[in-house]
Amino acid sequence: MSSLLLIAGLVILLTVLLGLVRILRGPGDTERLMAAQLLGTGGVAALLLLGSAIDLTGATDLALLLALLAAFAAVTFVAGLGAGPAGAPDGRRGSAPDVRGEGDSPASQ
């Protein structure tokens, strides 16, 4: 049983590691974020399987933490885009410069 769980955990981990190719290639930051999300979810699954297989204390806690913070990474990215629902005005804010940088003209058009 524990060997099966270990193999499954390894397979899942391998799969999401292969998702790194999306991080490297893109195109576009959204794909990279999605690959990071897949990495997080796969990491959670692999950790749960590993923890169950070798009876590792704290593995479930770590998995819980990863699940929470994978969402946080996505929040960070979207907030950083300064984008709202389609049609909403994009990021206006105090004195900080436009976060969508990289060749875009400032938000106030």
Partner: protein, 120 residues
């Protein structure tokens, strides 16, 4: 194998299958929204099936409760995150369309950089 072990084996393998399917989708689907769809499947189904499969192996009651709590977090958060990302994708696509339509001689490049291999 006991019933519990068979149950675990089936569900864990199903979960692993959905992770592989999610990865294939993420790498091979043509555009961002469909890749997001694949990611959601891996998130919800992959992790959910793995958690369900591990329930018989967990200590009772708190180990199993923690697993269920983790699954709830993953499902709720996965859904909201996918909506959020889809909103962001739509917004950027909309802006790219607006910018192209309103190109007034400025050389501001479109905000969307998920065209094929646009080096920035």
């Amino acid at each position: 194998m006991s019933v519990a072990d068979a149950f675990t084996a089936i569900f864990v393998l199903l979960g692993a299958f959905f992770f592989i399917a999610g990865w294939v989708g993420l790498v091979r689907f043509p555009d961002t929204l469909s890749r997001l769809h694949a990611l959601s499947k891996a998130d919800n189904l992959g992790l959910g099936l793995v958690v369900v499969g591990l329930l018989p192996q967990a200590s009772w009651p708190f180990g199993a409760l923690k697993l269920v709590a983790l699954w709830l977090v993953a499902v709720l958060v996965g859904g909201a995150t996918a909506q959020m990302l889809a909103g962001a994708i739509q917004a950027r696509a909309g802006e790219a369309g607006d910018r192209v339509a309103a190109a007034a001689g400025t050389d501001a490049a479109p905000a969307v950089d998920d065209g094929p291999g646009a080096p920035r």
